[in-house]
Symmetry: C2
Subunit: 322 residues, 2 copies
Amino acid sequence: MGEFELIERFFLRPARRAALGGGDDCALLAVAPGMQLAISCDMLVEGRHFLSTVDPQWLGHKALAVNLSDLAACGAQPLAFSLALAMPRAEAAWLEPFARGLLALADAHDCELIGGDTTQGPLNICITVFGEVPAGGALLRSGARVGDDLYVSGTVGDARLALEVFRGGLSVPQEVFAQARARMEQPAPRVALGIALRGVASAAIDVSDGLLGDLRHILKQSGVGACIQTEVAVTLMATPLEVPGLELSTAQRLDYVLAGGDDYELLFTAPHEGRAAVQAAAAQSATAVTRIGSIESGSSVRLLDRQGQQMPNSYGSFDHFA
Amino acid sequence: MGEFELIERFFLRPARRAALGGGDDCALLAVAPGMQLAISCDMLVEGRHFLSTVDPQWLGHKALAVNLSDLAACGAQPLAFSLALAMPRAEAAWLEPFARGLLALADAHDCELIGGDTTQGPLNICITVFGEVPAGGALLRSGARVGDDLYVSGTVGDARLALEVFRGGLSVPQEVFAQARARMEQPAPRVALGIALRGVASAAIDVSDGLLGDLRHILKQSGVGACIQTEVAVTLMATPLEVPGLELSTAQRLDYVLAGGDDYELLFTAPHEGRAAVQAAAAQSATAVTRIGSIESGSSVRLLDRQGQQMPNSYGSFDHFA
């Protein structure tokens, strides 16, 4: 089966929202009056962003999920996406489940595939996603102010636990691994929460490289510092504290939460007086949020223990070329 | 130097047209009232789309050029682009000329880099480009009608000649190679022509996979056939017919023109009565166009010789997985 037939078979569907979908030189997209287009682009490479063992269905899911997570962090409503795909071989046995996982998540967010490119080469998945947000209403990294509360959505750190098990550095009970693996392979982008936080959050980012690493982007672009209550942070993992056969120290948990990565939760700030509005946004989007600290002056992150004493912070930020 | 520093050093510039450029979760782009966004995406892989010997400056140029060429084929005005880049190593000696070539072409078309992604991995360049076109005014592949003239812009086939020299299958005089190599490595996207052809051309596509292969997309989507005057087509190469030391048969020339690929010229159709308008568009955009045939009923391509007799047509279309 040739390239064009493969694309048509697994990916091409009639254009819905787009004025023109795949199959021409360009896709055409209309943007509603008063709205801006939010655009994000993520490239996934085997060994860096996913393991060769991953089910193609979940790889398709995750490739779009990490992009939708960027829209969520801006408070944008997903509209459409384009897919560029390099593969060593064009195989239906891989493409069918990949497309199935990808398009299932796309449908769940009413986000239309409007074009792309396929070529032969080392496996590489590049998705560019398009959303819309009221002009001037996007959540930015630069809006955090001294005194704001610092929140994170959902649970954090479990994807890293799964990665450590895959790497052979950790052994955990089967049911713990299954749950953590699902968190790593099937992240749920917090799109509804992002939209609900428009006008409520002062700054937001999605947690992809690790909570502290991504927090630093907010701090740098807002010109502020932050403190984090570690006794709250340590409770953020979905993996329960007490499981027979699970040996996970508090220090390990804190490490996974603060520097684990691959969480795709929203890390955001909001003014102290907006606590009720944050809770309303969480309820409206059926997404748990936890207040883990606050924004302060300066430029650094202070980790506070149960007594409010500062702990050593030696976490580096993730760097793809480190 | 870390990932973020590299990106900032070579790629980050203050946002101009975009409401928000690189450095946040999403870029924000406004689309003017009455305009649609035209979106295209191309992924370039070493060995498939470029040789390892290419100067990074020209690779940067070409990676954007092939995307701008898609906008040109829709008659869209370039606005912005995002860049995703996988590299084995982040080296300033490669990134500096790559960014220089890329941004020089971007500036020439007032097309702003508004975000992207970088990661470690086998070299892969994925650009998504955004342009705008009046709603309903985009040039499509589906508009060719029986009786329309068939045109191609500029010169065609020389990139293939250069590729054959690189592959060792052809030996040509140095000055011929230099010119052909420039055509292969530094394509000039026909953006101005595409815009001038709005309302003039009935269908258009850019020639990337070979003239006949790309023509077939127009024919399929328009439900028509075509004939091509081979005695005109054979004159489309920039490489002169008579150069001392150059042995290139008419059959070879025709092969390079019809099935060479990598040309990034516009192949388009226009009604017979629109010939003056086509010439005006060519003059306005300072781009040569040549009438090479016409659209007829059916679904196949007939190659006609000097006497109007049909020649055998055994050209296949390019397939990345063939």
